[in-house]
Amino acid sequence: MELSPADVLKIANLAKLHIEEDDIPDYVTNLSKILEFVEQLNGAPIENIKPMAHPLDVMQRTRADNAVAVTTTKATQANAPEVENGLYLVPQVIE
């Protein structure tokens, strides 16, 4: 599978990564190589095999609906790049 520069830019946009014009050829080459490598999977004997999302066949455990007061607000917000009145600030979002 050979990716095009347009493919690379489309993926980068989905992944919210900025790619410099100069770096596009490298991405095209490297990602195409990896995709070529994983194409080995095409020959795999996987008819009638179900996909496996988890290594163990176990079921989801649940927890009781009990609330615990939040005490970490100060410690978590100390990590924030920009906070005002307890709100995380980002450039204006236009809806």
């Binding site: 490598f37 080995q40 290594p55």
Partner: protein, 486 residues
């Protein structure tokens, strides 16, 4: 002091022949001299460590000590440590002070262990050489020109160079076992679900598992007794009883059936490693085990399957690093899209970006079935293959890596050849199995690792075999010669 195992150190503490402060001081001094040459640590907090040592000594005096109270430990910088920087080897989290403790770090803390520092690693655990760290390369204590392996390279180098008596690591495709092999130490990757992932920064959630890197199997057993077990905060943690891993270390290997897969001895394998592993297998045979040829025909498919599944999960797991609530934010973002794109591009390294891109692509509309779903099917195929093999034998034995450590910079331009370094370790993660790497000889003065794989929740068996092997060999006792010892 520094060359002692934690089994020995804990005995000395119990006999009151030394104190945690004395032990801690000794390791901190050694770190000061040697770590500048290895770069095994991202964070060393001496005050924090000395206070913990003081507390541990008091606890021992008060008669409340546990087995590992006062024993120093280093955590891979992927485990959240409350109030201490947790960088995950990334520029993205260079300024991140965790507001909470991971379950693993909390259990160690509760046991009275002394945190010496946080070890270097490939960024977000993506890499097999520790060359993908924002904090620079880690050097292999056996030869500073070589890589220590990755992604838990800092932990492996620190244990091998005796900067810490024991360390934690995480293993997503071999990230405990491969650096353990490259650095000549013991590394255990537990069963998926055995050690809590809560607070362990996620790379690929269905593959990640934390475990010990240690000087001996007995040491690994001691740490497993602290960190293993059910955690209600991790939905994938399994609620089954945890054995005392030290209790079965001395069990006889009589009657043990060992399978040797022919695919693990194929073309890519260094012949010296092949020989060493065969010698090691014979050693186990002498201890009463029987050797059986087995086949795992789809071994080769494990690497491509892994390189779809792991990037797919990582592309989603790393979406939270967006410059909003914590971590790196670019200067003067023009708008929201600019904030996202520049923050992420400026703070993530090349390999991380590459994997995010591949994973995004594999999950995107029109490609999901061709890549992700197919990889998930191959995953089951491989898992079934191992289950079948483990019906015939108790454990599977082979090399941990196809080569010994390689030169820094030698593979950085070729991701595929780097990925193939994990050919023997990756299937274990896909199948969620436990596996251990044990020192089993040297090739050109570089350590060789032997890998043993068992069925789910059979860590005690692996530790038992490794321990028995270490009773009759001394590979694990060899120490790297370091010219800069003070």
């Amino acid at each position: 002091m520094h060359d002692k195992t934690i089994t020995e150190l804990s005995q000395l503490l119990e006999n009151k022949e030394t104190s945690s402060q004395e032990i801690t001081q000794s390791f901190l001094e050694r770190m000061r001299i040697i770590d500048p040459h290895l770069n095994a640590f991202i964070t060393i907090n001496e005050d924090y460590a000395l206070q913990a040592a003081l507390d541990a000594d008091k606890r021992r005096k008060d008669g409340n000590a546990q087995k590992l109270t006062g024993i120093p430990i280093a955590h891979k910088d992927i485990f959240c440590t409350r109030g201490v920087k947790t960088s995950c080897g990334s520029h993205m989290l260079d300024n991140f002070i965790s507001p909470y403790d991971a379950t693993v770090t909390k259990r160690c803390k509760d046991a009275g262990m002394v945190l010496l520092g946080k070890t270097n690693m490939d960024e977000f655990a993506m890499g097999s050489s520790n060359e993908n760290s924002f904090y620079g390369y880690v050097h292999n204590p056996w030869n500073p020109e070589l890589v220590p392996g990755g992604s838990s390279g800092g932990s492996a180098a620190a244990v091998a160079a005796s900067l810490t008596p024991i360390a934690t690591g995480t293993d997503t495709g071999g990230s405990i076992r491969q650096p353990a092999a490259f650095c000549g130490i013991t590394g255990l990757k537990p069963t998926y679900g055995r050690v809590s992932r809560f607070g362990m920064v996620a790379f690929a959630s269905s593959l990640d598992q934390g475990g010990p890197l240690s000087k001996t199997a007995a040491d690994a057993a001691l740490l497993m007794n602290v960190i293993a077990g059910f955690d209600p905060q991790d939905s994938t943690s399994v609620d089954t009883s945890v054995p005392d891993y030290t209790a079965t270390l001395n069990d006889s290997l009589q009657g043990l059936r060992i399978g040797i897969p022919k695919e693990f001895f194929s073309d890519g394998l260094d012949p010296e490693i092949a020989t060493a592993i065969q010698v090691a297998a014979k050693e186990l045979e002498k201890l009463g085990a029987s050797l059986h040829d087995i086949s795992l025909p789809n071994t080769e498919l494990s690497v491509p399957a892994y390189y779809i599944i792991a990037p797919a999960e990582c592309s989603s797991n790393l979406a939270r690093y967006d410059g909003v609530r914590y971590g790196y934010r670019c200067e003067e973002p023009k708008n929201l899209d600019d904030l996202y794109k520049r923050s992420r591009s400026e703070a993530f390294g090349d390999e991380v970006k590459r994997r995010i891109m591949i994973g995004t692509y594999a999950l995107s509309a029109g490609y999901y079935d061709a890549y992700y779903l197919k990889a998930q099917k191959v995953r089951r195929l491989i898992s079934q293959e191992y289950q079948n093999a483990l019906q015939q034998v108790d454990v599977i034995l082979g090399p941990t890596t196809p080569t010994t450590s390689f030169a820094l910079g030698s593979k950085t331009d070729d991701p595929i050849s780097m990925y193939l370094n994990d050919i023997y370790t990756i299937a274990v993660n896909l199948a969620g199995l436990p596996a251990i790497s044990v020192p089993a000889g040297f090739a050109q003065k570089l350590p060789i690792g032997m890998q043993l794989i068992a069925n789910h929740f059979q860590e005690a068996k692996l530790l038992n075999i490794a321990h028995q092997y270490q009773q009759v060999t001394d590979w694990h006792k060899r120490q790297p010669e370091m010219n800069h010892q003070g």
